[in-house]
């Protein structure tokens, strides 16, 4: 896996986008293309797993020859949720290194936590903006540069830059849950440099 990852810096990122809503698929596709990414957009977790070769039907090696560098999935989908898709990907030895980003219109902290704990790279609040995608792209590219050194799975919280949709929506903090939110936001980010 290590030698494959280092090649992404020279090429475009290939992103697999998963969303049951056609409007959202169209928008995320455009956001990604504008950010110089190749995009494959599918409508369900099942389709995503088929594309990734993890549907049990065929071997998990070489889907259509295009390595996927990032998976962006909606959380609430009929059938398999984005969370369930995340779990399946992270429990696959072939696919677990692919960063998975969850997108959701609902900012439920328990949901965010659950996804991050399961290994999601980021949790983006919908509607996703161009700045979110650009930031993601930088994170993924930077991450891939350091992949050889990386031992355990990286887990990063969204940073608190003004462009972060999560940060924007969580501040100002409501008093009742401020303490728990603060401790989550203060959780140290695993640094890229080892």
């Amino acid at each position: 896996m290590g030698s494959e990852c280092s090649s992404v810096v020279a090429e475009e990122l290939h992103v697999l986008a998963v969303d049951d809503c056609l409007v959202d698929r169209k928008v995320i596709e455009r956001l990604l293309k504008i950010s110089s990414c190749k995009v494959t957009a599918v409508e369900s977790g099942t389709r995503a797993l088929q594309y990734l070769g993890l549907d049990g039907e065929k071997s998990s090696v070489g889907f259509d020859g295009l390595k996927v560098n990032l998976i962006m999935t909606d959380y609430s989908m009929p059938g398999m949720t984005g969370y369930e898709l995340l779990k399946k990907i992270k429990s696959s030895s072939n696919l677990r290194e692919i960063p998975v980003v969850i997108m959701s219109s609902e900012k439920v902290l328990a949901r965010i936590d659950r996804c991050l704990e399961e290994g999601a790279e980021e949790f983006l609040v919908k509607p996703v903006k161009l700045s979110d995608v650009k930031r993601l792209r930088d994170i993924i590219l930077r991450g891939d540069e350091n992949d050889e050194k990386k031992g355990s799975r990286k887990r990063k919280l969204q940073d608190l830059s003004p462009t972060s949709s999560l940060a924007r929506d969580l501040t100002p903090l409501k008093p009742a849950s401020a303490a728990s939110k603060q401790s989550r936001l203060k959780r140290p980010r695993l640094k890229n440099t080892d």
Binding site: V23, D24, K26, S76, P78, S105, P127, L130
Partner: protein
């Protein structure tokens, strides 16, 4: 050109009122930013998909609320979809109506659901009308040889 100037002013006045009256929100501006010479029809395409999707959702909502035994989870699912797509195109009033609609779904309040189905329908057709007018204005400006004033 006189005509272009007039059309552009009409456009700016109209779209300003749409933002002021919350028919549209910032997400519409974001969509406009994604449109360029390589993809000059992007907004029209997305909005068209939204219109089609929404008609289908409204039908699904109506029939699911007409069942002998209403499956409120199913209804909620449809409203959630509607909320999502309207949010993605910046149709703020539709989205807000969906948020309230969802509450009635959670309460399994049939009366409330029926009322809000009507409201969501109303808001949808209103914004559809406004968007069609807006996009038509854009076309007229372009056909007259002018540029569509950028949003900010």
């Amino acid at each position: 050109m006189e005509i272009v100037g007039q059309l552009q002013k009409q456009y700016v006045d109209f779209i300003t009122s749409l933002f002021r009256e919350a028919y549209l929100d910032d997400q519409y501006v974001q969509l406009q930013k994604l449109q360029d010479d390589s993809n000059p029809e992007f907004v029209v395409e997305v909005v068209s998909i939204f219109f089609e999707d929404s008609e289908k959702l409204l039908n699904d909502l109506a029939s699911s609320l007409q069942q002998q035994v209403v499956d409120f989870k199913k209804v909620d699912g449809y409203v959630h979809q509607f909320k999502g797509s309207s949010s993605s195109v910046g149709a703020q009033r539709v989205k807000n109506a969906c948020v309230d609609f969802k509450n009635f779904c959670e309460e399994k309040n049939l009366d409330g659901c029926l009322r809000f189905l009507n409201l969501v329908k109303q808001e949808f057709y209103l914004v559809k009308n406004k968007l069609e007018t807006l996009l038509r204005l854009e076309q007229q400006i372009l056909q007259a040889g002018g540029m569509v004033p950028p949003l900010e």
